[in-house]
């Protein structure tokens, strides 16, 4: 795999954002809560019509970012723009955005139709009762809840409440739809269905969706762009593919997908990568991440190897073109349907996670306790900043 192929996603993202105007823009936005800086001087643009996610652990500032867009919080510094218009001093009820709340926040004293029509009823001059009814019915159809208008909200299942919340936001045809961990309360199967449905819906209605989540799988599967956040800052902004293939540092590599990390000090660098020497003296080569910083000699670094790029063979059978070959003992085996995960203990490297596809005959035959050989090519491992 050549280095050029790694830069492609970035170019694609750049091309997209150049062709579409920004729908949401942060210009050096800072938000503090007392001594805590929730959002720390961040700037970014989300192109019109895209599905964007803020991804990070709790307390990273992702929800605050969403609330800054919604207008529930005002920035202490900087400016938020929606659809090219500055939102400074614009209260939540005058912003062309709608939100799906984490626990839906449906009005318990109203039935489904009244919940969905709430936004339309606030319009001045008043909309026709018939017009409101029509749009409510259409939107309920869109979220696949036809003829449910007369139901009370608490009679509905979690997934149905979720759809009502979605309809209540979409019926207003906002510029931007905000989703605050909307799937967190649903069970796994339903969540999967809703993810697909949300994606389809976004394509159909064509408005910008902004999702806040701590679930990397969710963000990866649905988004056009993702902002990985930590301590109020955006660590990396890019397409899911870019984040997965070219993380800027260990934090991103750890958050997006899974990786084996081998920490050490940079002992040599060259144009394409670096050598990192582990504490036991073993020097490993790896290439730079396409989006990452180049480290200098003497700095702390990590080698990141995805579990699927590590090869696993019976002892003595590993292919010859590897940059690293080691023997290890299989400690654990987890069958995951389409693939199998092995935890392999290698004396100099520690515990490594290796993933074999179902098609690999070894996936079924290798048992805990067996000896095996692992290895990878240096151009499949990344040399990353250790933070």
């Amino acid at each position: 795999m050549g280095v050029t192929s790694w830069t492609e996603p970035k170019a694609a993202a750049a091309a997209r954002s150049a062709s579409a105007p920004a729908d949401v823009e942060f210009r050096s936005v800072t938000k503090r809560f007392g001594p805590v800086v929730a959002v720390d001087d961040i700037s970014f643009e989300i192109p019109r019509g895209s599905f964007h996610s803020f991804l990070g652990p709790s307390g990273c500032g992702k929800t605050t970012s969403l609330r800054l867009i919604a207008g529930f919080e005002q920035p202490d510094a900087g400016e938020v723009a929606i659809g090219g218009r500055s939102m400074v001093g614009v209260p939540a009820y005058r912003r062309p955005v709608n939100m799906v709340f984490q626990h839906y926040a449906l009005f318990p004293h109203m039935n489904v139709a009244d919940n969905v029509g709430y936004g339309l009823r606030q319009a001045r001059p008043k909309l026709d009762r018939a017009e409101i009814d029509k749009r409510v019915a259409e939107t309920l159809e869109l979220v696949r809840l036809p003829k449910m208008g007369a139901r009370r909200t608490w009679e509905l299942s979690g997934g149905q409440q979720q759809r009502v919340a979605l309809a209540r936001a979409l019926v207003n045809r906002p510029t931007v739809l905000l989703l605050d961990e909307p799937l967190a309360a649903l069970d796994r199967k339903l969540r999967r269905d809703m993810q697909i449905e949300l994606q389809n819906l976004q394509r159909d209605v064509g408005i910008t969706f902004i999702l806040v989540t701590h679930d990397q799988e969710e963000a990866l599967s649905m988004s056009d762009t993702i902002a990985i956040m930590r301590d109020g800052r955006i660590v990396q902004f890019g397409t899911p593919q870019l984040l997965y293939d070219a993380p800027v540092n260990r934090y991103v590599a750890d958050f997006v997908g899974e990786s084996n990390f081998l920490a050490g000090k940079v002992t040599a660098t060259h144009t394409n990568g670096a050598s990192i020497t582990l504490s036991n003296g073993l020097a490993l080569k790896a290439r730079w991440s396409a989006a990452g910083e180049h480290l200098s000699v003497g700095e702390d670094g990590v080698i990141a190897v995805r579990p699927e790029v590590i090869g696993l063979w019976p002892v003595g059978r590993a292919s010859a073109d590897l940059d690293l070959r080691r023997q290890g003992q299989v400690r654990n085996r987890i069958y995951l349907g389409d693939h199998t995960e092995f935890s392999v203990h290698v004396p100099e490297l520690g515990e490594l996670m290796v993933r074999l596809p179902k098609s690999d005959p070894l996936a079924m035959s290798l048992q805990p306790g067996d000896m095996a050989e692992i290895g990878w090519r240096a151009d499949q491992a990344l040399a990353l900043r250790a933070t």
Partner: protein, 273 residues
């Protein structure tokens, strides 16, 4: 042992009340000897114009003070949610004190305060009034409604505030997000959410004011509320007529309290959705 003890407690507590209810249906005049079932005392009460006047006064006072206390108490509870720190602590303290201070203290204190103020104000009015017949401030509806409002407002504050605390804040945000300005949000979301608590507060205030004797006794001036009327009639001896009035008041209060309780309970079930 414990069971017998509690049985005795309940007997002492409710025995006399049960007797009053029983003897209100007595066909005879005696308060000790049940001679047969009859509704004659209820009929007699219904025709007693003094009693009916007192009842009218009580209902007017109860309705006015409950309405005022509900409106002001709700406003106070809404305002207090934004108040933090020592000011909040002081307000909370004063609210609870208003509930705990004995009625007799409120009665005397209000009486002294009003009499002092009225005397001073009447003197001033007499000075500045252009004609020879200046208006006189005196005890009456105003004073008794004010005293009852003062006390019951604290009840409303406590009840409504509990409901506000239990309310999902994201409902307000959802409403704002759906283009409703703060006033529209209050009207369409906050108020309907608080309605059961507000109504329950109203019923409690009404019951409290309707039943109150102690405070009314001090500040009612020339007015007779129903409890004051009962008290003054009792000095002429307990008649089955008094029993009938007592039973009626008790039934009325129980219904109100039960209604308030029902409202407060329903809100908590709905709040969970």
């Amino acid at each position: 042992m414990l069971r017998a003890y509690s049985a005795l407690v309940y007997l002492f507590l409710y025995g006399p009340i049960a007797l009053i209810v029983l003897f209100s249906f007595n066909s005879g005049l005696s308060a000790a000897d049940f001679q047969g079932f009859s509704l004659r005392w209820y009929a007699r009460v219904a025709g007693n114009s003094l009693m009916l006047d007192a009842l009218r006064t009580s209902l007017t006072v109860a309705f006015s003070s409950a309405a005022l206390a509900t409106i002001m108490g709700t406003m106070a509870a809404l305002a207090l949610q934004r108040v933090k720190g020592p000011v909040r602590v002081i307000f909370d303290g004063l609210t609870y004190i208003a509930i705990m201070v004995p009625g007799i203290v409120i009665g005397i204190a209000t009486l002294i305060a009003l009499v002092t103020t009225f005397d001073a104000a009447n003197a001033v009015l007499a000075e500045i009034w252009p004609t020879d017949t200046p208006p006189q401030l005196h005890m009456g509806y105003g004073s008794i409604i004010a005293a009852h409002t003062l006390f019951s407002m604290a009840l409303v504050v406590v009840i409504v505030r509990a409901r506000i605390a239990g309310m999902d804040r994201s409902l307000i945000e959802a409403s704002m997000d759906l283009y409703a300005d703060p006033w529209a949000t209050f009207r369409q979301v906050t108020l309907p959410q608080l309605a059961p608590a507000i109504l329950a507060g109203f019923l409690l205030c009404f019951t409290f004011s309707f039943d109150d004797f102690v405070i009314a006794f001090f500040v009612a001036g020339p007015l007779n509320t129903l409890p004051i009327y009962v008290f003054s009639s009792i000095r002429r001896g307990v008649t089955p007529e008094i029993n009938a009035i007592g039973t009626a008041i008790m039934m009325f209060s129980l219904v109100m309290l039960f209604g308030a309780q029902l409202l407060l309970r329903r809100k908590s079930v709905q709040g969970k959705t």
